[in-house]
């Protein structure tokens, strides 16, 4: 039962989509966590948190789909990546524990609210950093022998992964700040605009640095990006990134919802760039999506499930966002 290549490719796209959905949706949640200390304790912080309280749980579910989908569709990749990035995954999970309970706990006890604010920020920061470093570890390559991870358990820690980690934190901060521009008004919004501008520059510089570093990382990557005809397929991505970046910079001063959507666009470009870089590997340099794929019967069974449920999921998720549309607590101030 050799898996059908088309089916495996479809699954690679589904998982990439789940990861992308996670990155942008929980990305702005985590970004708000990272930026949280810059908001004044009290009403400003409460509003920032309230802007995501009804949706963070749904956002985080995409992480479970990304991980669970990888387990189901590419079990070998899952079985290699998790041990290879073991400390990062554990750190991310524990970070998400603190971040997740902070939503509930910080309201329960006045005296300890400051502590849960710190837990919210710390958890978000650790989770974001760890996610970025997992990405870096994947890109720099994972040593595989037979069907097992063959490296040591600090392989993931390199200057490159630190760079991708910080880059992810900056990117999430940009998403969080632009989300807050959309959801807040008055002073909070003005503050978010200031933060967004800084996060934008940090993201732009780090994104560029990671891209350039990638070229030197592996010869396959350089060939993909610097030789024709591959270059012609790949070129629209950096061009679109540059256009969106400039547009975003202009929109930051006045836009309401626009900066957030442009930030999403930037992330989509980043994701496309990464996909182009590693395709058709799922674990560079040695495991392709075809080698790691689950048997056809498993992939078909799940594809039916995705086909039936995904439209519904997107519909009621969209509805949940629609229910909580508008500025946070605007009417609460009258």
């Amino acid at each position: 039962m050799v898996p059908d290549p088309t089916l495996s490719a479809i699954w690679a796209f589904i998982i990439a989509f789940a990861v992308f959905a996670y990155v942008v949706m929980d990305g702005f949640d985590l970004g708000i966590g990272v930026l949280f200390p810059t908001f004044a304790p009290g009403r400003e912080r409460d509003r920032a948190m309230n802007s995501i309280a009804p949706v963070w749980d749904g956002n985080e579910t995409w992480l479970v789909l990304g991980g669970g989908g990888l387990f189901a569709a590419f079990p070998l990749a899952y079985a290699v990546i998790m041990p290879a990035t073991y400390p990062l995954v554990i750190a991310m999970l524990l970070g998400l524990v603190f971040r997740g309970v902070a939503f509930e706990f910080r309201w329960r006890d006045d005296r300890h609210r400051a502590f849960w604010d710190v837990a919210f920020t710390g958890g978000s920061l650790v989770a974001a950093m760890a996610q970025g470093m997992v990405l870096g570890a994947l890109l720099q390559g994972i040593e595989v022998s037979g069907r097992e991870y063959a490296g040591s358990w600090w392989d993931w820690l390199t200057p490159y992964t630190l760079l991708t980690g910080i880059g992810t934190v900056a990117g999430y901060a940009l998403l969080g700040a632009t989300w807050l521009i959309w959801k807040l008004d008055g002073e909070g919004q003005a503050h978010a605009r200031k933060l967004a501008k800084r996060a934008f520059w940090a993201t732009a510089v780090l994104m560029a640095a990671v891209s350039i570093y990638n070229l030197g990382l592996r010869t396959e990557y350089a060939e993909r990006w610097l030789s024709t005809p591959d270059l012609w397929f790949a070129l629209p991505v950096p061009v679109a990134t540059a256009v969106l970046g400039l547009w975003l910079l202009r929109a930051l001063a006045k836009g309401e919802a626009l900066p957030f959507f442009l930030s999403l666009g930037l992330f989509a470009c980043g994701m496309a760039g990464l996909g182009l870089t590693i395709w058709p590997n799922v674990v560079p340099p040695s495991l392709t999506i075809f080698e790691a794929a689950a048997p056809e019967r498993s992939q078909w069974f799940m594809l039916i499930g995705v086909g039936l449920t995904m439209p519904l999921i997107l519909a009621y998720t969209g509805w949940a966002y629609w229910v909580f549309r508008g500025k946070v607590a605007h009417e609460g101030y009258h």
Partner: protein
């Protein structure tokens, strides 16, 4: 200094620890979500605000419990890969889709409607809000369906073929995999256990308020509802448990031998060992108190039926007897204690003393946490009883672990223990603090509390923003009017 055996045992402890901690929260929230749906439904049907007050009271507790269930559940979904990579590689083609279905059909449903359930009453109206509550409750059930299917498959694997790399591959029909032989029994037994866990927690908190003399109409209603559950559902659970036991005897006889402490075979009727100290090395139960032939009677419905013992099982395929023997007795003992409370409550109701019989309330208070303990004991019985297999009869636990060094697993275990005890300890404390106040008319909750910082998208206001001393509030409807 360390070898693979150390890494393995640490990984097993880590899994047992994280899954036990996690399991407490879904066991609570499955029942609580349904309880909330019933309360809101009763409110819509009868128009009595008492039900809405109770809804809001329990919603605050649900929010905390649910958040803890979510974050500890995410850990579980990644733990298969981190500590059990070989297991993931080999079982992924069969178990992966079941878990993916859990995410697609349950987690998204719960998460998507949870926000509306917690914060959306003012924004979507009563009926749509009730729909959201029902979707969350339904989601918790669907989640139980898939995860128990996956878990049951590991106990009674079916519908698979073995592939070249030792991978389990799906066979002809997914139906055989999903509805594997132990699944229906396990699903019924576990879901009822979750309902009873919630019922006894609600009953225990109700009993506490009755004893404290804060017996308002609200407390009475919730205590009465909990006691109805205890009286009607515990007997059903005992039957369901017996059926699962028979199913286990059919498919995993060694587990039942360990549960019963049968080291030796009994050709003409096995005794039921009530208590004793199993000694695996010597292969006997010391100080045993036994009822002759009762074990055969229960398991085979015939006192003289022969029953095989662990002496028929190869030594390296025997589960650890001590843990299984005792956890099973704790579960069954609590089950019968629950039955006692249920019957007592019926008697009290008949005598018209349900709300003023302090000894009943004391007993119900003591039994408040019994569901959690019973659920964990039952879980330990079934999971430890499966050893040394992770996929029964096919894949040994020892052959399923990740290629990790012991220090890595040990360090992460330590981190989990510290964080879980701190974070979830605080969470449980917050729940108890919420429960220490009695529900009262005009219960604040979702987005309507007076001094909550934010109204519309506001999070459930905590008790510190919830003014009013419950002791000074009216105790019943007469006082309120």
């Amino acid at each position: 200094m360390f070898d693979n055996a150390d890494a393995l045992i640490l990984a097993r402890i880590q899994f047992a620890f994280t899954v036990s901690f996690h399991f407490i929260f879904p066991a609570f929230s499955i029942g609580l979500a349904s309880f909330l749906a019933v309360l809101e439904g009763l409110w819509l049907k009868t128009g009595k605000t008492r039900y809405l007050d109770l809804y809001r009271y329990w919603l605050k507790i649900f929010a905390v419990a649910f958040a803890m269930g979510v974050v500890s559940g995410i850990v579980m979904s990644y733990q298969f890969g981190t500590n059990w990579a070989v297991f993931s590689d080999k079982t992924g083609p069969v178990l992966g889709p079941l878990m993916a279905y859990e995410v697609l059909t349950a987690f998204f449903l719960e998460a998507g409607f949870l926000g509306v359930m917690l914060f959306g009453m003012e924004r979507v109206g009563k009926r749509l809000h009730f729909f959201a509550t029902c979707m969350v409750a339904f989601g918790t059930f669907v989640s139980a369906f898939w995860i128990l299917s996956a878990n049951s498959w590991m106990h009674t694997p079916a519908g698979y073929i073995l592939g070249a790399n030792g991978q389990f591959l799906p066979g002809e029909s997914w139906f055989d995999i999903v509805f594997n032989p132990s699944f229906p029994y396990r699903l019924v037994h576990t879901v009822i256990a979750a309902y009873l866990t919630t019922a006894f927690a609600v009953g225990g908190i109700g009993a506490w308020h009755l004893l404290k003399g804060r017996a308002n109409e609200h407390v009475r209603t919730m205590f009465s509802m909990a006691m109805w559950m205890a009286a009607l559902v515990v007997p059903v659970q005992i039957v369901a448990g017996d059926m699962q036991g028979l199913n286990t005897l059919e498919h995993q006889p060694a587990k039942v031998m360990a549960m019963e402490g049968h080291f030796e075979s009994h050709p003409d009727g096995a005794p039921l060992i009530l208590f004793g100290i199993p000694d695996s090395k010597a292969g006997r139960v010391d100080y045993a108190i036994e009822i002759p032939k009762a074990s055969s009677l229960i398991l085979k419905h015939d006192p003289d039926a022969p029953l095989a013992g662990l002496d028929t099982v190869p030594e390296d395929e025997r589960p650890p007897v001590g843990i299984v023997f005792w956890s099973f007795r704790i579960m069954v003992g609590l089950g019968f204690a629950m039955l006692g409370i249920g019957m007592w409550s019926l008697f009290a109701r008949w005598r018209g003393r349900l709300y003023d019989w302090p000894w009943l309330h004391r007993a119900a208070l003591v039994m408040g946490p019994s569901g959690f303990v019973a659920v964990l004991a039952g879980w330990i019985t079934t999971e430890v009883g499966r050893q040394p297999w992770v996929v029964y009869g096919q894949l040994r636990t020892a052959d399923a672990a990740s290629p990790l060094d012991a220090p890595a697993v040990g360090a992460s275990l330590l981190a989990f223990v510290l964080v879980y005890f701190a974070v979830f300890g605080v969470g449980v404390w917050y729940i108890l603090r919420l429960a220490a106040k009695s529900p009262h008319p005009g219960e604040g909750g979702v987005a309507e509390d007076m001094d909550a910082p934010i109204r519309t998208a506001g999070i459930t206001p905590g008790p510190t923003q919830n003014p009013g001393d419950p002791d000074k509030l009216p105790r019943n409807r007469e006082e309120a009017e």
